[in-house]
């Protein structure tokens, strides 16, 4: 990427128009990230790997493991449930109203994450939630059986509320790109539904499924407000650990917090990278 054109006549104007944006992004996105980088590697006497290495131990590794597992599960649930839902809604038999209902509700639900969502689930399946109480009255003691909303499985259940709609939004275009002609051609040549999905449908959808999974994974991984409001520390997660550091919790040092944040960024970079690669692959089979 050459910036040579910035110098000279046109360059001056370009600087004036585009400059503010670049400066803004550098100042408030790039520099803070670099700051984290610096902090994560700086000890009392200069550069050190101590804090980054500490990511692999104790409390922080638990947090990382939990975050990765939670994100993977939440992404899986979202991809499977959302994928099936999107497929069903797009089938020719479905009345038109269902389709627009699902689309508009998905738009809202995908944005409904955070504190209010956590409270909604507490009101529903918390220890005194309406469903919990109702089930108890018919003889099913949820919490007695070991279920808890304030646990990893509970979080997956709550995360699904914004993961599934996100999947529907992101995956519908991919499903729409599955031409009816391919299904009919396969049928015409003697393929069963299984044959079709195995040889044609799923292979074509695979890049989109993968990129959707990656997107959902990244989305779940970065979540802070929802787990905070729901579990406030019961389940160790990377975002919550970072917030503990920032609020002055002395159990974890400043630098470890920075290392954690850096770790998050590294994971997200990998996520976005895979997503970009998959998107390019999808483009290859597009039209024609």
């Amino acid at each position: 990427m050459s910036f040579r054109f910035k110098a000279g006549e046109g360059g001056g104007l370009t600087l004036a128009f585009v400059g503010p944006l670049v400066v803004y992004v550098i100042a408030f996105l790039v520099l803070p990230t670099l700051m984290l980088l610096a902090e994560a590697f700086s000890g009392k006497h200069g550069l050190t790997l101590k804090y980054v290495a500490a990511l692999g131990q104790g409390q922080t590794v638990v947090a990382f493991r939990n975050s990765l597992v939670l994100s993977a599960l939440a992404a899986l649930v979202g991809v499977i449930a959302g994928g099936i839902a999107a497929y069903l809604v797009l089938r020719p038999g479905m009345p038109r109203g269902v389709r627009s209902l699902v689309t508009s509700f998905s738009a809202v639900a995908a944005n409904f994450a955070g504190v209010p969502l956590a409270f909604a689930f507490i009101a529903t399946l918390g220890s005194l939630g309406i469903i919990t109480v109702w089930l108890k009255s018919v003889g099913v003691d949820l919490y007695g059986m070991g279920f808890s909303l304030y646990s990893l499985p509970g979080l997956v259940l709550v995360y699904a509320y914004f993961q599934i709609p996100l999947m529907i939004i992101v995956f519908t275009p991919a499903l729409e790109a599955l031409r009816r002609e391919w299904r009919e051609a396969a049928e015409n040549l003697g393929a069963s539904a299984f044959d079709y999905w195995r040889h044609v449908g799923l292979p074509i959808l695979l890049p989109s499924l993968l990129s959707a999974f990656i997107l959902l994974f990244g989305n779940a991984f970065s979540a802070y407000a929802t787990p905070y409001a729901l579990t406030s520390g019961i389940v160790a997660l990377v975002p919550v650990e970072i917030s503990n550091v920032l609020s002055g919790n002395v159990m974890i040092s400043q630098q470890t917090g920075a290392a954690l944040a850096l770790g998050m960024i590294v994971v997200m970079v990998a996520v976005m990278g895979v997503y970009a690669l998959a998107a390019r692959r999808i483009g290859r089979w597009g039209r024609r």
């Binding site: 031409r179 002609e181 391919w182 009919e184 051609a185 396969a186 049928e187 015409n188 040549l189 003697g190 393929a191 069963s192 044959d195 040889h199 044609v200 292979p203 074509i204 290859r284 089979w285 597009g286 039209r287 024609r288």
Partner: protein, 353 residues
């Protein structure tokens, strides 16, 4: 026994009847085109034969067995679609092998058959290419190879050439006919392009609004249209209204003049008729010619390459189109007066109303 028989096929969508009881029979090895404007039901009929739609009435019988209720996957027919025929995630060869793979043939058999068919459609060296690397015409050839690979009882083609460039279209339709004759597969071909239908079919079935308007050989359809719809849809013609002057002698009254029209024989005297003249049957000459039936002024000329179409404003207030080889058309200048005549057998006469 006919190879394929459609018996009273009826199809309704919502409140609308799209097929009003179609009867059609195809002999083994026959190439039959379903020709008609959009919405006439030709594609619906094809899809019923393929098994993608269930008829609301009637039967489909293939080689003596009733297949009306049989799912599409079990009908052993090969279909070529208008667009997006090929599976994008497979090479040309893999596409052609698909039907055989699904039938659990051995890989060796699959490969041999695929090679055979790709050679038949002239694409042997493109076997490893993906659909997006092939041109439209090439893709349709692969689709044809794929359909034929399974040795289908019936080959179905749903406007396979409509999405292609004009030149490719002509090339490919001749290819399709050649391959069909070589393999001898019974074929049902849907198109809205009458030139396509006329040039490659054994028989043409013209459809209008869910009914068969006429079924016959291309020559019959073109030369002896059974009704005004077929006459209008197939080929160009000047359409004139007249009255039968003398049914015995074959004379029709057009704009006050009596003109010969042999096919008026058999129609009631004095009845209103449509008189149809194909442009190529109209003869022009200098004004005052002995054979002249009518006279008029040349209004415009349109150059079509081999042919030139000449529009004439006839005395008496109607216009007529004549078509002649461009070499001869040079003699007819715009604005000049001409004599017009035709051979008595030429005009088609159809009862009006």
């Amino acid at each position: 026994m006919p190879h394929l028989e459609i018996d009273g096929a009826v199809k309704r969508y919502g409140g609308k009847t799209v097929l009003h009881g179609i009867d059609l029979a195809l002999g083994q090895g026959e190439f039959v085109s379903l020709l008609g404007p959009s919405g006439c039901g030709k594609t619906t009929l094809l899809r019923i034969v393929a098994g993608f739609e269930r008829p609301d009435g009637g039967r489909v019988v293939l080689a003596g067995s009733d297949i009306t209720a049989l799912p599409a996957a079990r009908r052993n027919m090969g279909m070529v679609f208008q667009a997006y025929s090929l599976f994008p995630n497979m090479t040309a060869e893999e596409n052609v092998r698909f039907g055989l793979k699904v039938r659990r043939e051995t890989p060796a058999a699959q490969q041999a058959r695929a090679a055979e068919l790709l050679a038949l459609v002239g694409l042997a060296e493109h076997a490893r290419k993906y659909p997006h690397q092939l041109s439209g015409g090439q893709q349709q050839r692969v689709a044809l190879a794929r359909a034929l690979a399974i040795r289908p009882a019936l080959l179905l083609l749903d406007e396979p050439l409509s999405a292609l460039d004009a030149k490719v279209r002509v090339q490919l339709r001749d290819e399709i006919r050649r391959i069909q004759q070589e393999t001898g597969v019974t074929t049902l071909f849907v198109t809205h392009d009458q030139e396509e239908a006329l040039s490659i079919s054994d028989r043409v079935v013209v459809m209008q609004e869910g009914r068969i308007a006429q079924a016959g050989t291309p020559a019959e359809i073109y030369g002896e249209p059974a009704n005004i719809f077929v006459a209008r849809f197939v080929g160009a013609a000047a359409e004139l209204r007249g009255r039968v002057r003398d049914a015995e002698a074959g004379l029709v009254e057009l704009c006050g003049r009596a003109v010969p029209a042999a096919r008026a024989r058999g129609l009631a005297a004095g009845s209103d008729v449509h008189v149809l003249l194909r442009p190529e049957t109209v003869r022009l000459g200098p004004p005052g010619a002995a054979e002249a039936l009518l006279e008029g002024v040349v209004a415009s000329r349109v150059f079509f390459g081999a042919l030139t179409s000449i529009r004439i404003e006839v005395d008496g207030g109607f216009s007529l189109a004549a078509a002649m080889p461009s070499a001869e058309a040079g003699a007819v200048a715009q604005g000049s007066r001409v004599s017009i005549w035709w051979d008595g057998e030429a005009p088609r006469v159809l009862a009006a109303g």
